[in-house]
Symmetry: C2
Subunit: 281 residues, 2 copies
């Protein structure tokens, strides 16, 4: 057993797996604490244990036993149905605080969980530390460049997303020639992108004439240790299907899964993908 | 021909008709200037003329000829396809300014149109003046009262809608127990309400257990002469179908169409409908 293991508390979605694989590829040993019903079968490729949400004592113990000197909480934890949560002794003690935080929004929930692990002596690191290869840096990633008009939509989109984020609403918006076509709340980014196609054709793109940009940025109040915006191949696919022209994320403030495939898919679809410096974003 | 006629420049939707009927019922003579392809057949019940968007000279003349000492612009003017607009001489002169405004958003477009009519010597009045019976006042309209928890969601909803409105994004949001479920952008309020049913059941209401509130408020930058938020029977129907618990609008800052039927429908569905004072809203 090493004492330089990265512990990953894994919820749903592709992000925990990408971070685990990226860290392992960089030579790090990885232990996965899979949240029951949330993390998929991929955890079997790693040393792992499964815990229920609420088994906080078991989680603390497992991370210690596996020599995790650093840890991360990653992936979707859909707002839990509290009645379904299995609580151990530590979980019972923590529950009122976590429930109160959960009612304030997802970020408050995540921050309160991070606090608990840190108070129990665990060192919670950011994805930037654990898997720097996933971070989007400043610049255009593929062959397609945004036009100046699209650049203006990107700037407006960041203003919108910042305002949304300050109220813990969402991380993403779609802007087309100055008009805000869609804003993300609880439905998630993919559902938001998909509904753009239902808008009147005059305000959006159409086959052969893509228009509008997807913008994603972390919430100002977001704990960057837990929940950075993510883009992947599915994002490019949805953006193309809604005839948008491109994707902009905040440089150093978003993660890209399967970078090579994302760039290939974007180039093939004629979509730009860029990290915009925070000053301009 | 009277010189105390109310001229209504009528776009799409139910609002222009309701205002026209309300003003006529209050003893006012009404002339309708129907925007081609936007206002429906109801205009035939009133003295009216049909003009294309862009026939500004014709519009000015018609309003003068019919002795309209006061006028209103009402109803949806879906962001026009400029190529389809018929321009007369005055329209040609105005087009660059209107197009520039349209690119800044619907409110800028409306404000620029109001400015043009006022500069041509027309007195543009608010719906509050023309049809005060449509304004939602402070208080609960039907038999159902909001709970304190729903009241907290109403307050949070107004904070969200104000932030959205400041960026000219939309007028409406759905909040459920502190979580923002949906925010309106270009899709409109009805589409926004309807998509709440697609969210995971744990964050929303379900049959027999309504949860969450719809909140609507005018944009802070909105010209109250043109585009106040509107609720009607369809709103109540959509709110009920998405298992929301109620509707809150800003008192003196929203219109209600078919008040009697709205209250009946809301009472029957167990939904509260309220005007919240701006200080609390």
């Amino acid at each position: 057993m090493t004492h330089n293991t990265l512990g990953i508390v894994a919820g749903g979605g592709d992000l925990p797996r990408s971070v685990a694989e990226s860290a392992r590829a960089a030579g790090r040993s990885v232990f996965v604490l899979a949240l029951m019903g949330l993390a998929d079968d991929w955890v079997k490729e790693f040393p792992h244990e499964v815990v229920s949400l609420g088994e906080l004592g078991k989680a603390f113990r497992a991370l210690k036993e596996h020599g995790c000197n650093e840890m991360l909480l990653l992936g979707r934890v859909d707002r839990p149905r509290f009645a379904d949560i299995k609580l151990d002794a530590k979980g019972v003690l923590a529950a009122p605080r976590v429930m109160a935080a959960a009612l304030k929004g997802d970020d408050a929930l995540l921050r309160s969980l991070v606090d608990m692990f840190e108070n129990a002596g665990h060192r919670v690191v950011s994805v930037t530390d654990a898997a720097p290869g996933l971070i989007v840096r400043e610049g255009v990633l593929g062959r397609v460049q945004p036009t100046p008009e699209q650049g203006a939509d990107v700037s407006h989109g960041f203003a919108v997303v910042r305002a949304m984020g300050a109220l813990d609403i969402g991380q993403a918006a779609v802007v087309c020639e100055g008009l805000v076509l869609a804003v993300e709340a609880a439905e998630g980014t993919d559902a938001m992108i998909k509904r753009v196609i239902n808008l009147r054709e005059v305000v959006r793109g159409k086959p052969g004439k893509p228009r509008g940009v997807l913008v994603k940025a972390p919430k100002p109040i977001q704990d960057r240790k837990t929940d950075l915006p993510v883009i992947g191949v599915e994002t490019v696919r949805n953006v193309a299907a809604s005839y948008l022209a491109g994707i902009a994320v905040e440089a150093d403030g978003a993660l890209i899964l399967d970078r090579t495939r994302v760039v290939q898919a974007a180039d093939a679809a004629g979509i730009f993908v860029m990290g915009a410096a925070r000053a301009n974003a």
